[in-house]
Amino acid sequence: MTESAATAAPEVSVIVPISERYGDLEAIFREFGGELTRMGASFEFVFVVDGSQRACLPALRRLRDAHAGAVRVFVLGKSFGEAATLAVGIERATGATVVTLPSYFQVGPEGLRESFRILADGGADVVIGKRHPRQDAFVNRAQAAVFHWLAGRATGTHFADVSCGFRVMRRAVADELTLYGDLHRFIPVMAVNRGLVVQEVALPQRAEDRPSRYAGVGIYLRRLLDLLTVFFLIKFTRKPLRFFGLLGSVAFGLGAIITIYLGIYRILGFGGISGRPLLVLGALLLVLGVQCVSLGLLGEIIIFTHARRVSEYRVAEIL
């Protein structure tokens, strides 16, 4: 490869965040790179290795030495998680089109051609893969179905496979997605919320994606909290008090009813209330209510005083 070809910005940047588990990275490069070559697109692979997955580095070194200029590798100092690795990859990508891939085969490269065509036609801003038909075990499929049903209810979107790692988008769109925590799972949802058009493309699930799906209580809990976060981010970032205020007023109202009841009970002389644990419950609900509302108010103050820095609308076009 000549010097100039190595330094010119490629058309496509393929970002592979390696943070949880990884498969045959060289095979990923071979298959997806081969497809891109057949499509006649110049490309670079950006591998971002989370601090916890350094074991894959020898393979990546071999890859980089064999394909100088087409493979770039970044290693994070410690374990920052998938969203951070992905964000680093997007930041370092130089291509006009960004493809993100999971670090193992979820789907094959055959969807690239169609995804690029959809992007070029302007039919969508983000194309994501949808593993279909699925080869997973029944338990995994049931679990995914429940998760997607919940996610759909909470966010008002309908994705069949929201967390599929295969995504294609233009560079500007990728730059716009702020990723932190576990939000990379909800990229399509956040994109829709920003007014971007997201399209799913059905791709057959690869056999490599099937084994070793772990599922523990901790994982379920994290997914639920993620959902709650996304739900809040989408619905209430601009009106935190509506969210907290509702919760708070319910608690405060219940607390008020209980304490007023006890107060009347005491004043009318039905008996003492020093032995009634109900009073503790009433006080607790009052306190909880006030805390909720005041936290919501604090959120509202944050938005109110920082409103100039966050633009609420997204412009599609200016004539």
Binding site: R194, G195, L196, R238, K239, L241, R242, I273, S274, G275, R276, P277, L279, V280, A283, L284, L286, V287, V290, Q291, S294, L295, L297, L298, E300, I301, I302, I303, F304, T305, H306, A307, R308, R309, E312, Y313, R314, V315, A316, E317, I318, L319
Partner: protein
């Protein structure tokens, strides 16, 4: 100075108003032909799904004074107004609805109000052409309440036909559904305004995007504005004041439990209901105080400055007259 120096930006948020935009443009152009100002007309297409944008594109092609901002999706009227304000370059910004219910013939009179030195001029639809029970009565009630709470006698907060000096809108950042309270918020921060009676016409094309349920939301938003303007200027004070009742309650229950312990014979146990209640209230008290400090930090790091929102009018006055 020649009056030509006055530049006017008309901001019109539109959402599915395909039959109205062209008529509106013609009406505005007709009215402004008689006024010697340079003007621009900014349409903000809030994610319309009908032919609105195509019509706007045609208008833009025919007249360079038309500018069009198209949102990716429907974000709401407040963001649309804000986008228009962000893009406006005139000395005076006039906002109006895209449904033809406002009459562009009122614009020159709004301009006269600005020329007379007011920071903003708002329209009052004294003779509204809307449904009585779902629109007029709730709106009348809401306006009475807003006037009561803010102590600013505005008859018609909901009228979109308003004119502002640009400096005024540039200092205001709208979010949520705040566009209704621009007048109330602005006069709370010391701006002067005048209310003038404007024409109001019945809807000809398209359908209304408002309903009764809006009024309730408006009222809760209004309370929020009132609370926010108070809390944001002195958060620690207001959170502190909110915490006082909890301090009192906690002290009362604590005193009572101390008394119970003091008089109870040694071998008898005392119920823990009162001490626990006292501690709960004490926790709430402490929490509110601490939250007040965090709020102080938030405000300190933010951009809201009360003193900034009171604007010097002299420089603009000079330019206008």
């Amino acid at each position: 100075m020649t009056p030509d120096r006055l530049e006017l930006s008309v901001v019109v948020p539109v959402f599915n108003e395909q039959d109205n935009v062209e008529i509106l443009f013609n009406e505005i152009a007709e009215v402004l032909r008689g006024v010697s100002v340079r003007w621009e007309l900014i349409f903000v297409d809030d994610g319309s799904t009908d032919a609105t944008f195509a019509r706007l594109r045609a208008l833009r092609g025919a007249d360079p004074r038309v500018r069009v901002i198209r949102f990716r999706r429907n974000f709401g009227q407040t963001p649309a107004m804000q986008a228009g304000f962000d893009a406006a370059s005139g000395d005076v910004v006039v906002t109006m609805d895209g449904d033809l219910q406002n009459d562009p013939r009122d614009i020159p009179r709004l301009l006269d109000g600005i020329r007379a030195g007011h920071d903003f001029v708002i329209g009052w639809r004294k003779d509204r052409k809307d449904k009585l029970f779902t629109r007029k009565i709730p709106s009348w009630l809401a306006n009475r309440l807003i006037a009561r709470i803010t102590k600013i006698p505005i008859h018609d907060n909901g009228c979109s036909l308003k004119a502002y000096r640009r400096e005024v809108v540039q200092r205001t950042q709208l979010y949520g559904e705040m566009h209704r309270f621009i007048p109330a918020m602005m006069s709370l921060s010391g701006c002067t305004f005048r209310e003038i009676v404007v024409h109001h016409r019945a809807r000809r094309f398209g359908s209304s995007k408002y309903g009764l349920s809006r009024t309730l939301k408006v009222l809760s938003d209004l309370l929020l504005v009132k609370v926010l303007t108070g809390f944001t200027t002195r958060p620690a004070l207001w959170f502190g004041l909110t915490s006082v009742p909890f301090f009192v309650l906690s002290a009362l229950f604590l005193a009572r439990s101390a008394y119970d312990y003091a008089v109870a014979p040694l071998e008898e146990t005392v119920s823990i209901v009162f001490p626990t209640t006292a501690l709960l209230f004490a926790a709430a008290f402490a929490n509110l105080l601490l939250l007040g400090m965090v709020a102080e930090l938030v405000v300190w790091s933010g951009d809201y400055r009360e003193s900034e929102s009171i604007l010097p009018a002299a420089d603009v006055m000079e330019k206008l007259n």
